[in-house]
Every structure is written in C-alpha cells, then in structure tokens.
C-alpha cells in the first residue's frame, strides 16, 4: 500500500510543490492549511510522515508537532518541519516539541525526497 504523507502549509504554492513531489515518489498526499486543519484532516487517518511549515495562522507548526506527539497514533510517526536557512532556533523549538527532523527552505524536490526517505523509507 502506498505510504501516506500529510503536508501542512498555509501557502498553496508550497503545498502544491510538496504534494507534487511526494506523489511523484508514490505517496498518497493529504493537505492542510494550518495546524488546526491538519488535526482535523488526520482524524481517523493513518499517516506515515508529516511535513509542516512553522509560520501558519490558527495553529503554528511547533504547536501542531506537540499536539500530534501527544496522540498515541502519532508517537512514532516521523514529523518534519520546514524551516528557513537561518532558523536554528526554529529547528531547536521544533525538535523540543518532538519533530523528527527538518527540511530547509527553499524547496527542492530532491532534497525533500532525500529527507523524507531518511525518516520514512
């Protein structure tokens, strides 16, 4: 069965590109516009990897990571955060919240796939 990824970003451009890249690699892709939306999207769904932006309205990425980790079914799901090149403190806060790793923006499909493969082969 195809693996399922969830991409969370308030930018449609980003979601489109992430989804396109993952679909190309054989993933089913769920999309959400922000943390709150993401939580409602994953309800009752099994997700193999989550990729989330940090800056989003309603619920930011770090909070989303924390919320997901608090759920039994997401305890061992790899969660990647999208950060900008300089965002060391963001990486740290993401990690502290329970993120597995990060993807550095700007977006590059091969980089994305290599990171996703790293945590969810």
């Amino acid at each position: 069965m195809a693996k399922r990824a969830l991409t969370v970003d308030d930018s449609k451009t980003m979601r489109d590109m992430v989804a396109f890249t993952l679909k190309g690699a054989g993933f089913d892709v769920l999309e959400a516009e922000d943390g709150v939306h993401a939580l409602s999207v994953v309800k009752g769904q099994k997700v193999d990897v989550v990729i989330t932006d940090i800056n989003m309205p309603n619920m930011d990425g770090v909070t989303l990571v924390r919320e997901l980790r608090a759920k039994a079914e997401f305890k061992s799901t790899p969660i990647l955060i999208l950060t900008t090149e300089g965002g060391d403190d963001k990486k740290a806060s993401g990690k502290a919240a329970g993120a597995t790793g990060w993807i550095v923006k700007p977006f590059a499909p091969d980089k994305l796939l290599s990171v996703v493969n790293k945590v969810c082969p």
């Binding site: 449609k12 900008t84 990690k95 993120a99 945590v119």
Partner: protein, 702 residues
C-alpha cells in the same frame, strides 16, 4: 532550488499558483498595513504580515527570484523583531513597512512579468530596514552557501569508526535508529556492534526509552560530512563520535593521498539562480488582487459552466412551456417532475453564479491608501468612509472596477475637495469627507462616491467645453447637462496637468469602462455641497430573474428585483402634465408613466393604461416609474444574451434573451427608460384630459 524533475507545464502551473497566491497575500497585506498606519495592528495582524512576507519568500526562493528573496528576507526579519517586541511600532516603522509593502508588490510583479525591477529598486527601503535591524545586509543566497558547505570533500577508500550513544529519550521525536543504520550502510561496507548492556530487566523496561548504543565500522570513500549528514537530525539527542580509523595495510594507500582528479559527486541540485528565469513564460494579464481564499479554477472553465447552465435554463423553460400547453390529465402527469427539474435547475444556476461572486472588498481595500497618499501630497484633510465592502459582485466585474474607482476618487480629492483653509472659509469642517459605498439595488450593484467638496464649477466646465469645441458657444444647457460634460471625450477640468489626475485618462475613459460592463454612471453635483457619482453595474453578466410582460405581439423582460407591484389604474388615478407626460397617482405619490407601446412603436398594443396594466418599478438611481404593459405573462430565470456585440446600444434595452418558445425577448433597462422622454404625443383621450390642478411632486429618476 530548482524544481528539478518537473516538466515545463508543471513548473508553469506552480508558478501561476505562486503569483495568484502572491496577489492574494499582497491584497491582504495592504489591509493589515493600513491598520498598522492607523495604529491598530494587533499581534494577530503582525503575525499575518509576517506570514505574508514569509510565504512570498518561500515561494520566491523555490522559483529563484533572488531580488524578491533578498528583500523579503530582511522584511521578515524586521517583522520578527517587532513580534518579539525588540522593535516598536513607531510611525516611522509603520511608514517603512508600508513602503516595504510597495516594494514587495513591485518586486512580485517584476518577477511575474519576468523583468528586472532594477538593481537599486527598493534599496533605500532595504537599507533602512537593515539599519533598524542593526546589521549589514545579510547575503541571502543561502541555498548556494548551504551547498558550498561540503567544500572539504575528500575521496578514496577510508575506514571510519563511529560511536552512537542515544539519550534515553531518543524515541520521543520518532527517530528510528534502524533507519540511521540503513543509511550508513548505503555509504559503504558496514559492521555493526550493538551494545545492549544498558538494557534493564524486563519488568523495569520502559518501551518508550532508548537503551541501546552502537559502534560502527564503516569502510567507505565518503567524507566526514557525509557521515555527519546521516546523523543530522539526532546530533542533539545522541552522542556521536566519528573517527577515521587507523589505516590497515589494505587501505593505507588510499588513505595517504586521495588520488588527484578523483570524482567528486556533483551536488544533486542546482543553486536557485540558474533556474526559473529561463523557463518562465510571459506572464498573462496581471492578476488583480483578490483577498478571499479559494480554490483556483481557470475562469474559462467557469464560463463554460455558466454557459451550459444558461442553456439548461432555456431548455428547462421550453419544456415547461410545452408541458403547460398540454391539456388532458394523462398528458399532464410529467408536470410534477418538471417542477422539480425547474427547482433543481434554479438551484444549480444559483450555485454556479455564486462561484463567480466576490465581495468588492478587495477593490475597496486599496482606497484608504490612495486617499492617504493624495491627502499628504495635496495638503488636504480627508476622512474616507466606506460601507458595503461585503457586497458581492461577479469577479470579472470586480477586476474592471479598480481603475475607474481609483480615478474617480482621485478626481474627488484633486478637484472636488477644497484645502482646509478654503473649507474653513466656506464655513465647513476642516476635514473633507469622501463616502464610498456599495449596495445591491435590483439586479445592479451601485457603487457611490460622494464628497462634501465644492461641487462642480459649472461656469468653468462650460467655458472649457466651449473652448474645446465640445459644445457650441450659444448652446443652452441645463445644470445636469453641464455636469455631464465632464464625461465628454477630451474634457479635462484640471487647470494644469498634475501627476495626480492628469494622466491622460479622463472621465470619458471611466465612463467607457463602465458602459462596457453594461453599466452606467450618473453624476449629481451641488455647488458648495459636493458631488456624488453613482456607478450602476449589473451584478453579473449572465442571468437575471425576469418578469415576462406582453406589449402587443411583443414580449419584454422586466428585472424582477426592480418591480414593486402592478395594477390597473382607474381613470381617476391618471393625470396628464402636458402632451408628452402622463402620471399615475398611487397612495399619494405621482409616478411618471413610461408607455412602452409608444416608445418602441409596438403594434396592436393597448394604449390606454386603464385598459392594460401599469408595472410600478424602482429606479436604481432613486425614484420610481410606471411602465405600461398589456399583461404579465410570468416569472422566469432569464439568460442574458448581450446585444452589444452585434448591435449599437438601443436606448431602454439592456440585452435580450431566448424564451421558452424559442422567441427572442428584449430585456428592459429601467434606469434608461426612466430617463427617456415620450416620442409621440399622448393621444387625446376622454378621461384624462383634465390638467392637474394642484402642483404635484413627481417622483422619477434623476
């Protein structure tokens, strides 16, 4: 970074999404920055502004728009510091952000149109932002520098020993050591020794904690960085020791000196800059801002949907017509089904039309900024009041509204409103007021711009018009006709061409734009008290709810929303003002009668309103008229077919439609009818020949 591995069309698709999104973001940004200038931007607003810059930056980076990335980077950093409370929202900062918003918008459109905004564009703003940030401009071609980190690539076979000791809470981030081991194995030949000594007895074991540690021996020609990369995500949750093993005899050679010219793996992805620009197709028409978030559908598809539904409505009407003509009970059985079909068709049509509707807010939102800029430039104090921003109108219409609206507001400020001194001298408040409103009236949206300025200087307008040969020197014009002159082609009231209103675009262009939308523009001016401009534009270019009326053999459509009531007047209700004008008295009001039969010269029509019907209708500009018809046929959804493409404009007619029986009916334009005078004298009739004895207030348009 490039969107490698995506085909040109995918790339183009993302690019289109990106710019559509940018335009939404920019419209939103404008709203928030306006709030900021008014000192009312709260944390949520600030976050929204930050996210706007952030989203644009992320996309711009992906497409390699370096200028845009550089600028948004600093802009975002500034906002970040504001969020953290390190930089206060002073008026200077607010001003800088607003100017930054402008730079951002220009950079986006430069990128969209695949041109260069110029090397120094926005440099002053950027410099000030960086000053505030207290740092030198940071080079933001980070992707390139990130790629460059692997400078120290060595090659040749080597032996590495790696010690990996996770913290006990390794698993809380869903890290899977097995994956790390797999990845190491991909680098070369790997020997794994697992240290299980820390594993507690089963009853003390907490399955969520990590107890194992590993010692690896790796034989690989990889660099230290390659290995470190494997542990990229765990370097703070594990102790990692990577050492080059003491060389054994076998690999001593390779370890001494890496062979010259050894193959260095090229970086998998290209730096950002090399990409986007080349593949970029010329941008289409610049997407106008639209604030509402939405799914994006190509307009052409919706047009097709609208057309198809239009045809469905006509077909349904034909079916209804044919069924209505049936007589026997058996034959009439399908009628219940057809009624349901009618309901569904109607619902479907409403849904389809709603897809195209958007609030005018996206256009209105740009106006406060315009007013502020102009008031500063011209030294006038202006209070802009807006209402009805949520009024919805067809998207195509919204896009066409921005320019006329901008022009009219410019005119109001430049020509209409006086300077504070002049206002005080005229006994008015120092601050002038401009009201901008939108509302649905009948099947139209009415957008009004009114100011409490000096009104139109008719003497000057007339003098200019005569001077320019627009009217003859001996012409006798009413005040209204003089006011209308400002719409004449080539007319300009500006004494000198300023950079504010004298852009070679006159009110004639504004009017042409409005008319091309099937709309109309009215002007009302009162010297000393101000000017009001009303734009009447159909809500949509596609359908309306119509009442089919019969006049002689002809069928006409009245927009249902403008109909108040219909009645057969008694002879005592009829009054005659002169040989051309007839009014009907109802509930104390005198309403002017518009005789369709005479206006359109219809044969076999009932000429006497007391034998036919008067349909009382509201005029969008204000007032009512009574339209004479023979009878009402019925109510129906009308699919509007434009006549303008094939005919010159016909006064009093806004379009045509196809009826259920396949015949064409003309759609009446109430506002134009209200302004039309009778074309033939009223017949001398028995009952209504007596003149009105008392003065009457005539309620009519304009």
């Amino acid at each position: 970074m490039s969107i490698d591995g995506t085909s040109g069309s995918d790339f183009e698709r993302f690019r289109i999404t990106f710019f559509e999104e940018c335009n939404e973001i920019l419209a939103d940004l404008e709203v928030h920055l306006t709030q900021l200038q008014e000192g009312a931007l709260d944390n949520e607003g600030l976050n929204a502004v930050f996210r706007a810059a952030h989203s644009i930056k992320a996309g711009a980076g992906a497409f390699g728009f370096t200028d845009l990335v550089n600028f948004t980077h600093s802009f975002e950093a500034l906002l970040d510091k504001m969020r953290d409370g390190e930089i206060d929202q002073t008026p200077q900062v607010a001003d800088l952000l607003v100017r930054g918003g402008d730079v951002l918008a220009e950079l986006v459109s430069a990128a969209q149109e695949n041109r260069n905004a110029g090397p120094d564009f926005g440099a002053d703003v950027l410099e000030q932002v960086n000053d505030l940030l207290g740092n030198a401009p940071k080079p933001t071609d980070a992707p390139a520098s990130a790629d460059a980190q692997h400078g120290e690539i060595s090659s040749g076979m080597g032996n590495w020993t790696i010690q990996l000791t996770p913290n006990v809470d390794l698993f809380k981030n869903a890290t899977e050591p097995l994956l790390l081991i797999r990845e190491l194995r991909e680098l070369g030949a790997l020997k794994v020794n697992c240290d299980r000594s820390q594993l507690p007895p089963l009853r003390k074991l907490d399955p969520e904690l990590a107890y194992f540690s590993w010692a690896f021996e790796l034989e690989s020609e990889c660099s230290r960085e390659n290995i470190e990369e494997v542990f990229e995500f765990v370097d703070d949750t594990c102790e990692i020791a990577i050492e080059r093993a003491v060389s054994s005899e076998n690999d001593a050679k390779s370890d001494e000196a890496p062979p010259q010219g050894a193959e260095v793996q090229p970086e998998a992805s290209l730096p950002a800059k090399s990409v986007a620009a080349k593949e970029v197709a010329p941008a289409g028409k610049k997407a106008k801002a639209a604030a509402a978030s939405s799914i994006r559908v190509e307009l052409g598809r919706i047009d097709r949907l609208v057309n198809t539904v239009g045809e469905l409505v006509i077909t349904q009407a034909m079916l209804a017509q044919e069924l209505a003509d049936l007589t026997s009970d058996v034959e009439r059985q399908p009628i219940a089904g057809q009624e349901q079909l009618a309901n569904l068709t109607r619902e479907l049509q409403e849904c389809v039309m709603a897809i195209r509707m958007q609030p005018v807010k996206s256009v209105f939102a740009r106006m406060p900024r315009l007013v502020r800029d102009l008031s500063g430039k011209l030294g006038k104090k202006i209070n802009l009041r807006m209402s009805g921003e949520h009024t919805e109108v067809d998207k195509t219409i919204i896009e066409e509204l921005a320019d006329p609206l901008t022009h009219m507001i410019r005119n109001s400020i430049d020509h209409g409103l006086e300077t504070p001194d002049e206002r005080v001298a005229a006994g008015k408040a120092e601050e002038g007021t401009i009201d901008l409103s939108a509302a649905h009236v009948g099947g139209n949206i009415v957008i009004s711009i009114s100011d409490d300025g000096a009104g139109i200087n008719r003497e000057r307008v007339l003098a200019i018009a005569i001077d320019k040969g627009i009217v003859q020197p001996d012409a006798h014009l009413t005040d209204q006709e003089i006011d209308e002159l400002i719409f004449a082609p080539g007319f300009s009231t500006a004494e000198e061409v300023t950079d504010i209103s004298g852009r070679g675009v006159g009110m004639d262009v504004v009017r042409r734009n409005i008319v091309s939308l099937g709309g109309r523009i009215q002007i009302q001016s009162q010297p000393g008290h101000g000017t009001r401009l009303n734009m009447l534009i159909p809500l949509t270019l596609a359908v309306l709810d119509g009442m089919i009326v019969a006049v002689g053999n002809q069928r006409y459509i009245l927009p249902i929303t403008s109909i108040v009531e219909s009645f057969r007047p008694s002879p005592s209700q009829m009054r005659r003002l002169d040989d051309w004008t007839q009014v009907v008295q109802i509930r104390g009001e005198f309403i002017r009668i518009v005789r369709l039969c005479d206006l359109f010269n219809v044969e076999n029509a009932t000429h006497d309103p007391t034998q036919g019907l008067v349909v009382l209708t509201e005029v969008a500009g204000g007032g009512k008229i009574g339209i004479t018809v023979d009878e009402l046929i019925g109510q129906q959804q009308i699919v509007i077919k434009s006549l303008n493409d094939n005919f010159d404009p016909v006064p009093g007619i806004s379009g045509a439609t196809i009826l259920g029986n396949g015949k064409v009916a003309l759609i009446l334009d109430i506002e134009q009818l209200a302004g039309m005078k009778g074309t033939v004298p009223l017949p001398q009739e028995r009952g209504d020949a007596k003149e009105v004895d008392a003065p009457v207030a005539i309620v009519a348009a304009e």
